[in-house]
């Protein structure tokens, strides 16, 4: 029998708590009741499993135990006797462990929970926090740390969000038909934000894994939504470059300079297979197109072999569905590779992105390639001043010094 220690139970918690919680929220109609019950069930597991071994279906055990605990508590509360009658109708066969009813409807419950957590009536911050807390099984402390927010502030944010769900009666269901596209968008955004929070310097890397897990879950639950698949592919393809993205000192390595042998082939293959599936469906969207761009990069064995015309064509398409200045900037980078830095610079100069450091970094690089090293050097400095992490600042200042060096070298 495998050793059942705290770490093993922690893994079960990460994997199963969202599922149990989602089922219990449907049953009890109350997030707090469900959360308390699931916590209690895991506390019990921590006491029992190390001695008795893990049950054959740990998730089912947790759900059943949590449900029984919650029912016990409700039974004890005299004034809620009336509610109990309704629970009994919803939950026949309480009191027995491992009844078969856990198996079937739970997937839908997690999908309901995602849509409730990411309801547009909640702020984006609240959506992200709730999703991590309720579906990801992160503690309030972990969620707070991930977003560099003090724990009491994060606890307050979660309490407020849950209170709003209850008071405003934000529904616990999967939106249908016409409303689905508008409601799916914030769900995808939340998962993407969670991933990006994990990419940043100080934040918890576990967030990236969590975002991929959520994207995988969503794709499994909504196989007909190409954008969900596109998001999963995009995250896998970005994640495949993790080992080569930073130096041991934490500084960043540009895509062109990364050691491609260290890219994770399994993730690339999975991501590219999803992209091919999306292409066949031919219902492009922002995540699918970004994934496709990432997939083209992943195809090139060396930076020089990158199929830039293909990438440029994809950015053209992306700009049609997402005509934002940031997309225009990336489009200009591709233009720089296909038609040269002068054509790209002309496009970049028209963008209104003064507060966005990649704008200055891109401008700096194009100026450097055009031999306008003084201008390049001040653009690098501007980029460095705006960069959010020390690693990025160092990297940009290094670029600035290189440009300066080139200038004085030519002068000498």
């Amino acid at each position: 029998m495998p050793v059942v220690d705290e770490a093993a139970i922690g893994r079960v918690f990460r994997e199963e708590s969202g599922r149990s919680l989602a089922g219990l929220i449907r049953l009890f109609g109350d997030i707090d009741v469900a959360e308390d019950a699931v916590q209690e069930a895991f506390a019990l597991a921590l006491r029992k499993w190390p001695a008795q071994g893990m049950p054959p279906n740990p998730g089912g055990w947790i759900t059943t135990t949590a449900r029984n605990r919650a029912l016990d508590r409700l039974r004890r509360r005299e004034r809620e006797r009336e509610l109990l009658g309704e629970v009994a109708v919803l939950a026949p066969g309480t009191g027995e462990c491992g009844t078969s009813e856990e198996a079937a409807p739970v997937h839908d419950d997690r999908l309901r929970l995602i849509f409730t957590c990411c309801h547009p009536a909640l702020s984006t911050e609240a959506q992200v926090a709730l999703t991590l807390r309720l579906l990801g099984g992160l503690s309030t402390q972990e969620v707070a740390r991930s977003f560099l927010v003090a724990e009491p502030a994060m606890a307050q944010r979660l309490v407020r969000a849950k209170r709003k769900i209850k008071a405003a009666r934000i529904p616990y269901r999967v939106p249908e038909g016409r409303e689905l596209p508008d409601r799916l968008r914030p769900v995808l955004t939340v998962i993407y934000l969670i991933y990006n929070a994990g990419l940043g310097g100080q934040a918890d890397r576990g967030l990236c894994a969590e975002a991929i897990r959520l994207a995988r879950l969503l794709t499994g639950l909504m196989p007909d939504e190409p954008e969900a698949a596109g998001l999963l592919a995009l995250l896998l393809l970005i994640e495949s470059r993790r080992a080569s993205r930073t130096r041991p000192d934490g500084s960043l390595v540009l895509l062109a300079e990364q050691d491609r042998r260290r890219w994770d082939r399994a993730m690339i293959e999975e991501g590219q297979a999803i992209v091919r599936g999306c292409l066949r469906r031919n219902r492009p969207g922002i995540y699918q197109l970004q994934a496709a761009i990432s997939a083209v990069h992943a195809d090139a064995a060396t930076a020089e072999q990158t199929d830039w015309p293909q990438i440029l064509a994809l950015y053209d398409q992306l700009f049609v569905v997402a005509p934002t200045p940031v997309v225009a900037l990336n489009h200009a980078v591709a233009v720089g590779e296909v038609r040269g830095p002068a054509a790209a610079l002309a496009l970049v100069e028209e963008l209104d992105l003064d507060g966005y450091y990649p704008f200055h970094a891109t401008r700096a690089d194009l100026l450097r390639r055009l031999g306008r090293d003084n201008e390049a050097s001040s653009a690098y400095e501007r980029a460095a001043a705006l960069a959010p992490t020390a690693a990025e600042r160092d990297f940009l200042r290094l670029g600035g010094r290189a440009a300066q060096g080139a200038e004085s070298g030519r002068r000498a």
């Binding site: 929220i25 009336e82 008071a167 405003a168 009666r169």
Partner: protein, 129 residues
């Protein structure tokens, strides 16, 4: 069922594209149709439009005496201009009505649930499917 207040806030002195007479007529017609829909769907509970805030009077108890003063209570520039009280299954249903109202009158609508209904311990039916 929960009751929701859909409140129409007007901003004093706010420059909006003034509606033409024709647009005004269209807007009134749309509202009439919408209210009819609310009635037949069983959603309508009560609705009303208020006079301008400068017609308001405030009463309050101060040092044991009832004080009556002229003018609106809130100092702010935003005032409640009118409201609907509707009943709906959940927030999504309430938001659907609110979207129709805002489309007709082109003013933002705030949607809030009445506490007496949502906080009654009837939560079990809320999450049923």
């Amino acid at each position: 069922m929960t009751q929701y207040m859909l409140s129409v806030h007007s901003v004093e002195g706010e420059v909006r594209d003034p509606m033409t007479e024709e647009e005004m007529r269209q807007s009134h017609k749309q509202l009439a149709v919408l209210e009819q829909q609310m009635h037949s769907a069983g959603a309508w509970v009560f609705s009303g439009r208020l006079h301008e805030p400068d017609t308001a009077t405030v009463v309050r108890v101060s040092a044991g005496e009832v004080l009556t003063t002229d003018g609106p209570f809130a100092e702010s520039k935003e005032h409640l201009g009118g409201f609907y009280v509707i009943q709906a299954d959940d927030l999504d249903a309430a938001l659907a009505w609110a979207s129709k109202v805002t489309a007709a009158i082109r003013t933002p609508i705030e949607v809030r649930a009445f506490a007496a209904f949502a906080d009654r311990p009837q939560a079990f039916e809320q999450f049923g499917d």
